[in-house]
């Protein structure tokens, strides 16, 4: 059996993974789907028989560990280990974005309930508490005041250690929407506004998508955000602050793009697949 040109490494098959594999089939490319849960790697050997690996695992730990192994064994993995580790964590990303000169919401990190209450008080209410790892708006809460904050922090103290790192952001004054921009290589290929009635605009929570045209400023911000986490194929999430303009609140390294394809009519899966095949030839 000859090695495939690329491998889609997954642990859950979302619309995106099916679309990537469909795009590969249409391009006549030899691209294989590989369930990460079936992998067992002798990490001191060489990675053979994968081609370029499109890393699509939604589990952060599975993602970074399988990338570390495959990349260490010589495979070309998109996104690379650095990006998986950095973009997978909102605090790490925040620090790097700042350093890269990308505007971000004001943020704090604290390691106990009392310290977090102090931080929230300094930021001012309302503010937003987020797990540093996670998506789809899970476990993200709007802290309306000190009393609510105290209750939420108390619950978090009893949870997984992940929730005892208290990452709190100012509540950004913005229109009732945010922006998801899809970056493939050197280009922002499409972007959407995500609208909602509630304050979280995640599509997974019922947000509505609408095409967003990408101007020079947004393009520049997105490319700088991609570079900040050494990314290659990423989804950049932005908010439009009334006073400061575009703020980046996160960079997704296994980005979803179903709604972007649906409302923008851009064949993002084909663009990603051809980027991966091209990377394999270089």
């Amino acid at each position: 059996m000859t090695a495939p040109a690329a491998t889609i490494l997954y642990d859950t098959v979302r619309w995106e993974e099916k679309a990537l594999s469909g795009a590969a089939r249409r391009a006549g490319a030899d691209v294989r789907m590989l369930d990460c849960r079936s992998l067992s790697l002798d990490v001191d050997g060489e990675a053979r028989g994968y081609g370029t690996v499109l890393q699509r695992c939604v589990s952060y730990y599975r993602n970074v560990h399988s990338t570390a192994a495959l990349e260490g064994m010589g495979a070309r993995v998109i996104n690379c280990l650095r990006t998986g580790m950095l973009a997978g964590n909102k605090l790490y990303t925040h620090m790097l974005l700042r350093k890269a000169g990308v505007a971000v919401p004001r943020a704090t990190v604290s390691f106990s309930r009392d310290a977090a209450l102090g931080a929230a008080g300094r930021l001012g209410y309302p503010c937003v508490i987020k797990p540093t790892v996670g998506s789809w708006g899970r476990m993200i809460s709007r802290l309306s005041g000190a009393e609510a904050a105290s209750g939420i922090l108390e619950m978090r103290e009893a949870m997984h250690p992940l929730y005892q790192v208290h990452y709190v952001e100012e509540f950004v004054k913005r229109p009732p929407r945010d922006i998801r921009a899809i970056v493939v290589g050197d280009r922002v290929v499409a972007a959407i506004y995500r609208h909602s009635d509630g304050w979280k605009t995640n599509m997974a929570l019922g947000g509505r998508a609408e095409p967003c045209s990408v101007g020079a400023e947004m393009e520049d911000v997105c490319i700088r955000a991609r570079d900040a986490v050494h990314g290659e194929i990423v989804g950049v999430d932005l908010m439009e602050d009334e006073a400061r303009g575009l703020l980046v609140h996160e960079v997704n390294n296994t980005t979803e793009f179903k709604n972007t394809v649906r409302v923008c009519g851009v064949d993002i899966p084909s663009i990603m697949v051809s980027h991966a095949l091209e990377a394999g030839r270089r």
Binding site: V13, E17, R138
Partner: protein, 55 residues
């Protein structure tokens, strides 16, 4: 077609079903993961979203 282990309702599988895909029962909302078994697809209860899951 497969049937829901929770409520026994019929669950239609997509034509392009692949192993690892998640299907949801329209009747009761339970989620199942498709697993290949001898040329066809079987259902097993889907893993709930892990604490470290993200996009």
């Amino acid at each position: 077609m497969a049937s829901c282990a929770e409520c026994d309702a019929a669950i239609a599988l997509p034509d392009d079903a692949v192993a690892g895909e998640i299907v949801t029962c329209a009747e009761c909302g339970s989620s199942f993961e498709l697993v290949a078994s001898g040329g066809s697809m079987a259902l097993k209860p889907a893993q709930s979203v892990g604490e470290d899951w993200g996009q």
